[in-house]
């Protein structure tokens, strides 16, 4: 890896880091969700400063190209995160639907009581 590329990587990671912190402080992201991202950016930062770490593991695992190993790990982590998001979104939709339905039914009861007659035909 050329020194220029490493500097670019470090700069980008640092930028992501700052954006993340700003977002959490502004309240755009919940801090418990941001923890994962902080850990990820720390790891990336560490690897871009000391790529030897990645090289070491690649050699241990018998992977010829360090980049391939890094890509594989990142893709794996991304798949896990998207999967967790799918489950999360499912639950959110389910809860939101339940709330909307409950609200509509309550509203209906309120209206019925206001009219003080049961809306049978």
């Amino acid at each position: 890896m050329s020194i220029q590329f490493r500097i670019l990587l470090i700069a980008l990671t640092a930028l992501c880091f700052l954006v993340l912190i700003k977002n959490v402080k502004k309240g755009n992201m919940r801090s418990d969700y941001a923890v994962v991202w902080i850990l990820c950016s720390f790891t990336l930062l560490l690897l871009s400063i000391f790529p030897q770490i990645a090289d070491f593991f690649a050699i241990q695992l018998g992977i010829i190209s360090t980049a391939n190993m890094v890509f594989a790990i990142i893709i794996f982590l991304l798949i896990i995160m998207v999967y967790l998001l799918f489950t999360k979104v499912s639950w959110l939709e389910e809860k939101q639907k339940a709330i909307v339905q409950e609200l509509a039914i309550l509203n209906k009861r309120l209206e019925d009581e206001k009219k003080s007659k049961i809306g049978k035909r």
Binding site: E94, K97, V100, Q101, E102, L103, A104, I105, N107, K108, G119, K120, R121
Partner: protein
């Protein structure tokens, strides 16, 4: 037996009044409720002006969410049975007593089916229906001739299930699930009319393909 007719309505200003009137004129011993799924047209105005018993959803939930709202209402108000009845005029009220009678014999779900005595055509839609029938047959060894029929009555136990469990959309895949669970499903022959107005939400090739994939995959893997 307290029976509730659930009429989901989304942008049905042209047909909803006809549907409700035909239901009232049929003088069947049942209550009805229209679920207005946040329609963008004058449906709500028509419902209010004619004092039709209805629930307004504050946001659009889609057909399945609207029908489920009806099931929740039915459960809360202690109904013994609930019928889904489309707001576009396809379903005919004179068949409701037949469905109720059948339910009284001890069935859990009774479907108003178009194809008990009659054959399916050979249109693309019927091909889809055949595929779903085949998937249900393959996984449950039970023949359901018209799995996509929207006209079905369910008893109180099923109302609770459809109202509060996750993944119980009023669709063929849920039907297959209930059959597998050992609930008794019966089909009786009914007529259905062409819709008064509006378009099927399942129209269009892409929507049909999506629907089929969803139903078949659910029946095969998640039931």
């Amino acid at each position: 037996m307290k029976v509730l007719v659930i009429i989901p309505a989304y942008n049905e200003e042209e047909s909803i009044l006809n549907v409700v009137k035909s239901l009232e004129n049929a003088s069947i011993d049942c209550d009805y409720i229209v679920i207005n799924d946040c329609s963008k047209d004058n449906t709500i105005k028509i419902l209010e002006e004619n004092k039709i018993n209805h629930i307004n959803l504050p946001v659009n939930l889609g057909l399945t969410g609207a029908v489920q709202t009806g099931y929740k209402y039915a459960y809360n108000n202690h109904y013994d049975a609930a019928i889904q009845f489309d707001g576009d005029g396809q379903h005919l009220p004179e068949y409701i007593p037949l469905l109720v009678d059948e339910l009284k014999k001890g069935y859990d779900i009774v479907i108003g089916s178009r194809f008990v005595d009659k054959n399916k055509g050979l249109s693309l839609r019927m091909l889809g229906s055949r595929l779903i029938s085949f998937a249900i047959k393959a996984t449950t060894r039970t023949t359901v001739k018209d799995p996509t029929s929207g006209m079905r009555i369910i008893n109180r136990e099923m109302i609770k299930d459809y109202a509060f469990e996750v993944n119980r959309k009023p669709e063929p895949d849920t039907l297959a699930y209930q059959i597998k669970k050992g609930y008794k499903v019966k089909e009786i022959q009914v007529e259905m009319k062409q819709r008064f107005a509006g378009e099927s939400i399942y129209s269009g090739l892409w929507n049909s393909v999506k629907y089929m994939a969803k139903v078949i995959i659910t029946i095969m893997f998640f039931n």
